[in-house]
Symmetry: D2
Subunit: 306 residues, 4 copies
Amino acid sequence: MNTPKKTLRGIVPPMITPLIDTDTLDTKGVENLVEHLIKGGVSGIFILGTTGEAQHLSVKIKTELIKKTCVCVNGRVPVLVGITDTSVYESIKLAEVAAEYKAEAVVAAPPYYFALGQPELIEYYTLLADKCSLPLYLYNMPSHTKTMIEPGTVMALSKHKNVIGLKDSSANGVYFCKLLSMFKDQPEFELFVGPEEMMASVVLMGASGGVSGGANVYPEIFVDVYNAAANKNVDKTIELQNKMMLVSQELYGIGRFGSSYIKGIKTALSLKGICSDFLAQPFNLFKDPEKEKVKIAVEKLDKLLK
Amino acid sequence: MNTPKKTLRGIVPPMITPLIDTDTLDTKGVENLVEHLIKGGVSGIFILGTTGEAQHLSVKIKTELIKKTCVCVNGRVPVLVGITDTSVYESIKLAEVAAEYKAEAVVAAPPYYFALGQPELIEYYTLLADKCSLPLYLYNMPSHTKTMIEPGTVMALSKHKNVIGLKDSSANGVYFCKLLSMFKDQPEFELFVGPEEMMASVVLMGASGGVSGGANVYPEIFVDVYNAAANKNVDKTIELQNKMMLVSQELYGIGRFGSSYIKGIKTALSLKGICSDFLAQPFNLFKDPEKEKVKIAVEKLDKLLK
Amino acid sequence: MNTPKKTLRGIVPPMITPLIDTDTLDTKGVENLVEHLIKGGVSGIFILGTTGEAQHLSVKIKTELIKKTCVCVNGRVPVLVGITDTSVYESIKLAEVAAEYKAEAVVAAPPYYFALGQPELIEYYTLLADKCSLPLYLYNMPSHTKTMIEPGTVMALSKHKNVIGLKDSSANGVYFCKLLSMFKDQPEFELFVGPEEMMASVVLMGASGGVSGGANVYPEIFVDVYNAAANKNVDKTIELQNKMMLVSQELYGIGRFGSSYIKGIKTALSLKGICSDFLAQPFNLFKDPEKEKVKIAVEKLDKLLK
Amino acid sequence: MNTPKKTLRGIVPPMITPLIDTDTLDTKGVENLVEHLIKGGVSGIFILGTTGEAQHLSVKIKTELIKKTCVCVNGRVPVLVGITDTSVYESIKLAEVAAEYKAEAVVAAPPYYFALGQPELIEYYTLLADKCSLPLYLYNMPSHTKTMIEPGTVMALSKHKNVIGLKDSSANGVYFCKLLSMFKDQPEFELFVGPEEMMASVVLMGASGGVSGGANVYPEIFVDVYNAAANKNVDKTIELQNKMMLVSQELYGIGRFGSSYIKGIKTALSLKGICSDFLAQPFNLFKDPEKEKVKIAVEKLDKLLK
């Protein structure tokens, strides 16, 4: 039986990948960032997700990151490893690396070149769950994969003993609330939400927690929001949510294109001395005018989130 | 000053339009349905929305429906009137009809043939708000209009004294929670959510209420969920939400195409003896096999929602 | 029998709607524009299409435009009238107006609020074709209607004696070439292409002609391209195509948003003294900096297209 | 200087990848298929494209396929190798393999997880072209990559001495005809079209040729259509096009989902004794009822295309 002893709940940041250049890991940065997150109270760390730029990294770098992160964390919190790939055999190989270094679980979005039909998704995830020795989280990310893992598909896959939960980054409130209701009698099936803006609203309704990008920089405020919501304290949740929303408001809108969000986070972490702000190609790190804006944002947030 | 005396909160069903045929109103059905809704505890009635098949109705029928509904309601709850049209002059004409029959406010989605840019949206809504004597709700419905009314656009338009709120049917939890946070210091600006599945989650976070389609058939359970969430009773909200979710689960998935949801509601209301199940062309009412399925669903729901 | 005596072939411009303001027709502009087009050699005139801003016009203006255009044309070329509306009864009413003023045919895109399924499309168009006394062209415009009229649906509808052709504005070369092949044995079913850039390529393969927006300003060059392609003169077609492409290249990219194309055409016609450059709300006419750019473009084109 | 001595023109099939199972190449199948294609008159062979299921293959299999194909082809026609990957370093590694085995050029679609902005695309392709020793074709595939390589971006990249052409699989006739016109004075920049249905229409207008999936099974008819169009024989082109269209009509619509097209081709090749019909996971080969349909289709096509 592969399921972890206890169910995971809380904030599990999608860790950015500290890089010196596209094919060189910033190992000191990984050390610093892991300490920063654990000190911030996170319940787990998710590496090689979308925010971790996994799709732009070589197999070599991915392997180094898994090893380095697991060594730094050293069992203090569970490490979840993204193994999303369009080739199922490459995913399985990466899952073996994760198992070797004692990660807790793996996370996989659907293959993202061809959009699969729902029966194809069921077969795909069944194969993956059969072949991975670690427990598997489904990862719903339709804006990037062009495929929704439909609620009926999630329910079907939840019957596989090695499929233990789902992370949803669709931003679709109907989808997430439908899942919460469908799984009301299977509370051990973990439902995590990606977008931090809606995290509080779904944790109040019973979600397991959030895979919140902003928690890379300011883990405490995300943990506080989660705790207030998990404790069903509505007033406090709203009050803390309004503080937490400052992170995305100040940090994510600088620059253009879908990569701005990751650039904002990496630049902020660099300014805080935690790790390098390098982004793997085809992305570029911010130039000086944008960096200046991030600097102002970080100074503002440091004060407001105290 | 056009804003209503007190802010609207609670369940405001998007009333279906009872029809004898595409160009003939089921007036007895309107009477019955209005009584059914008011008896069910709704806070207002929204006619000529998406669920009301407004886009498929002639101007003649729309005018009759406004008149008939306002007469039946007779001031017991506010009546909101959808005036969405691609021609702004047709919208303004309909708003005048709504004002004549003492509706409380009008509701308009963006023009839905050409997708507008955000500055075009601001000019469009400013013109509409200037020309309408009734207060105006924005209606965000990107799946049908191909345009998101971006948060910054909503904020800009909220400064117009005649723009009093927004109904969001995007199903996008990030969007809605962002609006809740942005308008935390303007609580008089009303934020209603369309999709019933996520209503509880956002009312807990401070939303004004829900424009819930299922409340056409079972208004009480939606009102109960709203009240529990508005009263910040998290456990009760979840408990009632799980009951409420049975409505969409049992009633909306019968038949194919986007119209199934409206067909399910109209057939259920017909089976309950409230109004005709006719749909305006190009939609068709369910045939016998689907009707039979709705019958079974209604019998099940009647028991479970008691 | 409703089909016109002879099959239409050639360039049928989607005429822009000359306006004094949103609800006032520029009647002198209509006169001038009709003469400009007929003098330019067009085979027909299509009013109240997308380029004609039909969706932004009131019923009153649409009626006036139909009457005025038919009077000006006075039988010299066929007039096609767009009757696209989300309400089938409003479409039928407009078709009656078109018939009254002796238009040749009507043109209808699918209802564009709800996206219909293919069986719903078949029922919709069958109803419309049954009720219209004039022959009907299907109008495929998925970017605006969210629905493709699939090839199988076109074939099914082509069996209706009152459905005589299709205008395709999908820009999808696979779709159009598939239709050409499917209708190889029904050459009387007319297949017109919207986007002018691909007109030559499909006329070479047998298409009936083009509903080319740029032909509002420079009808001759479009007619020349059509003739070269219809006469199977490949070298001349390519040579003329390269000239014709200057129109879209110079005129359509000024300004932002989907409306730029119509603004470019209207501003050019205004600079040529043919009609007003007013656009119906929610669109705005170009301001001086953009007008200046159009002026330079028109001067350049006037020289190059001589 | 890396550009090939002479410009490539004609039919360059996107070769399917013969497999025994997901991670085992059908080497005998590769031999047979290469002979079948060359005998059929193709001008080149493109491996590891979309039709080649490249994204579902491990690095090991990709390497084996490059080697095996190049050995079989043995310089008789150019071999083009798809190196599309979300990690630019994995793409570069694969390009080195292609160079080692004497392939003629490499082909890369944009990274397909994050959708890139146009300036990001320019930087990405510039890096790739700088680092690859073989000439590079751009590959526009927006349905899978969520990014259009805009005409201006193509023009900018065409200035790089190592970027020699583009394969467009957008099915967008406006886009392709715009490129043909933009590159009228750079005829050495090769413009190939993916979808076979529109190949004839654009070759008539000057395109370099087609990367036609159906040419895997029936190369001759595609070569014939190409030749007729390249020779500007319009009547013959249309006549042959109508025969060629039978391939997609009969073979691609069997089964569901986006993979049906590849399944139809692989099953047909298997029935002809050329190679195995296995598909890499997450796809499945057809089961008996679908195989039976393909069998009937192949028998029909074998007769009709004689």
